[in-house]
């Protein structure tokens, strides 16, 4: 059974190996260059108050090929689990059902529950291993940038912190969970739809939906968020918008290094979000009357965030959630195949 699974998986495995090899070479060459720039900026020997050096380093990357590669790596990390679900997961059993070969496979001296278990197990492990190697390579490549960012080199950085949803899903161990989940999701849909192409399409749609909903609805609540309130300082940089009817929206930049800012609002002394209405002081040409008026309101800035130190705990929790979901789907697949309904 293991031989057969490997034999059927071989073309995908060779493709995956080739992709890893090409990426390893590309990332190895450019990663060495990035690391030497990092050292050149004095960041490898800097241990305290490196903020300025880090900012300079990060700013020097703006518009460079490293910035492109940085985001290229993010794209690869996003695509990898989806492609695993599409090209490894969905066809795994759907193709057998579609072409009728399941009738050959299920009449050998191997029960079909075991058949499904071995196929899922080997495919799932391969998916996790592939995503793990990919994450390791890309995380290693980007580590100078991430170190510089967490050293305080944010400012007007074009590169996001790894706590931001964009980067969070492309770093660390969470992608291993995504790969396992996308794979088992593909297998499950393949069994339910019994057709490869529709299963691939639906896998893509559902997996993308899950990946969008996770940071939007679930991740902010995985650990209780931190809050910070500071006096609203109208003189500092931020946004001030006045809508029709004098409705005001005030946002003052939050400067919490490396943190994921979930919400950032300005509240009045009663704790309600401040919405104006704007007085004539703010509708005129000059700024100072408006600033003075706002200062008299005793407004405060209220920031909800996940601090940078939560990166690994959140990664761990998210990995566990996705692995549990994968295990659940995997069990459902084995159970469903084991029951004779085909």
């Amino acid at each position: 059974m293991i031989w057969m699974t490997w034999r059927q998986f071989r073309p995908q495995a060779i493709t995956a190996g080739a992709i890893l090899l090409v990426l390893a070479i590309a990332l190895g060459i450019t990663g060495a260059g990035l690391a030497s720039d990092f050292n050149g900026a004095g960041l490898n020997t800097c241990h305290a108050s490196c903020g300025q050096d880090a900012t300079n380093f990060v700013n020097s990357l703006r518009g460079s090929s490293y910035q492109m590669l940085f985001y290229g790596g993010v794209v690869v990390m996003y695509l990898a689990p989806a492609l695993i679900g599409l090209f490894w997961g969905a066809p795994l059993i759907a193709r057998e059902l579609e072409t009728g070969t399941y009738r050959l496979a299920w009449n050998q001296s191997v029960t079909r529950g075991r058949w499904a278990l071995v196929k899922l197990g080997i495919g799932g492990l391969a998916a996790v291993a592939f995503a793990g190697l990919l994450s390791l390579m890309i995380t290693w490549w980007a580590s100078p940038i991430n170190t510089a960012l967490s050293d305080g080199g944010s400012g007007s950085s074009p590169l996001a912190s790894r706590m931001e949803p964009l980067l969070f899903a492309a770093r660390g161990v969470a992608p291993l969970g995504y790969a396992a989940f996308a794979f088992t999701l593909g297998v499950t849909l393949g069994i339910l739809l019994r057709r490869t192409i529709p299963a691939m399409a639906l896998t893509l749609v559902l997996f993308a939906a899950v990946q969008l909903l996770m940071p939007a609805l679930v991740r902010p609540h995985l650990l209780p968020a931190e809050h910070v309130t500071a006096p609203y300082n109208p003189g500092r940089s931020g946004e001030l918008m006045i809508g029709n009817g004098g409705q005001m929206t005030l946002v003052q930049d939050a400067t919490i290094p490396g943190a994921w800012v979930i919400s950032n609002v300005t509240i009045d002394p009663a704790g309600n979000v401040f919405t104006g209405p704007a007085t004539s002081a703010c509708l005129g040409e000059a700024n100072s009357p408006c600033i003075n008026w706002l200062a008299s309101k005793h407004l405060r800035q209220f920031v909800t965030y996940q601090p940078a130190s939560r990166f690994w705990p959140l990664q761990g929790i998210e990995l566990a959630i996705y692995l549990a979901a994968s295990a659940g789907l995997g069990c459902a697949c084995v159970w469903r195949i084991g029951r004779r309904r085909a």
């Binding site: 070969t101 029960t111 079909r112 085909a342």
Partner: protein, 294 residues
């Protein structure tokens, strides 16, 4: 001796449609059994139930005394060549043999390789590039080389040309002679089975119309021709399967355990095809058919 297949009140439902209802039959071991019936009679459903590809909706089925496909041991005892003889298009003939070897503890590698040689198949050829006949032979080789006690074949030769049919049946017969194998083989054409089956089951509308050893069936069925008359005019002890009448003459196909000596009737023997068609025809005309007693 345990029956090869034993079904009691067996039924299978697809949604609201019944593909097989209330099927009770016992197929003895040690025969090459032909399962004949028109398309849609429930042959494939019955065989899928016998191989455990399907679970019964009602009733029970036992194969060689065990529940189909319940354990690896049970699976090893039954070989199945499914309809359209599925093989992995992307795998070579040699890969299929490796597949069989890895999936079956009792795999007979020497037998499998000898058959591939005998068939003249190129081991490096992808199964997807084989002709229909070659693919059927490959599927049969896989089923035989796992050394089953019972081999089940679902319309294995329906899509083959006459030469490929002959070759396929020849290989099958050699295997049954060598291995003391019971065989159950379905077809909607009697002609396919006539040369190989020594036991026949006619399945129409998911009911067994007649079953028995072919020699016994042929010996006990007669075509009686005589002057125009009613079925009641026939000698006692004969059971009418079909009847037809012209202005002056009546023809009855009957089953009789005793010879008919009445000089008013001319008794002719019939061949297997006439027999099967008679039972199919009588079932199709929704006339109540008494199941024969042997």
């Amino acid at each position: 001796m345990t029956a090869a297949v034993e079904a009691r009140g067996l039924g299978r439902q697809y949604g609201r449609r019944w593909a097989l209802t209330d099927c009770t039959l016992s197929i003895p071991a040690g025969h090459v059994v032909g399962l004949v019936g028109p398309n849609g009679a429930g042959k494939t459903t019955l065989l899928n139930l016998a191989t455990g590809m399907l679970e019964p909706s009602t009733g029970t089925i036992e194969v060689l005394g065990g529940r189909p496909a319940s354990t690896p041991q049970q699976l090893a005892r039954v070989g199945y060549v499914a309809q359209d003889t599925p093989t992995y298009a992307g795998l070579s003939v040699a890969d299929h043999l490796k597949f069989g070897a890895h999936m079956n503890p009792a795999w007979d590698a020497a037998l499998a390789e000898a058959r591939i040689m005998q068939l003249g198949l190129d081991p490096g050829q992808k199964a997807g590039k084989l002709s229909g006949g070659q693919r059927a032979q490959l599927a049969l080789t896989l089923a035989i080389a796992k050394r089953p006690e019972l081999l089940i074949l679902d319309e294995p030769i329906a899509s083959l040309d006459p030469l490929a049919r002959r070759e396929f049946l020849q290989i099958l017969m050699e295997a049954t002679a060598d291995q003391e194998l019971s065989v159950v083989m379905s077809s909607h054409l009697v002609a396919d089975l006539e040369r190989v089956a020594d036991y026949l089951i006619v399945l129409v509308g998911s009911r067994v119309q007649v079953d028995g050893e072919t020699d016994d069936l042929l010996a006990s069925h007669r075509l009686l021709t005589g002057p125009r008359s009613d079925a009641s005019a026939l000698p006692a002890g004969v059971q009418v399967i079909t009847e037809s009448h012209t202005g002056r003459q009546s023809t009855f196909l009957v089953r009789s355990t005793v010879p008919v000596h009445d000089p008013a009737w001319t008794a002719d023997s019939i061949d297997l095809e006439d027999l099967v068609l008679a039972y199919m025809g009588s079932a199709a005309s929704a006339r109540p058919v008494l199941e024969g007693t042997r």
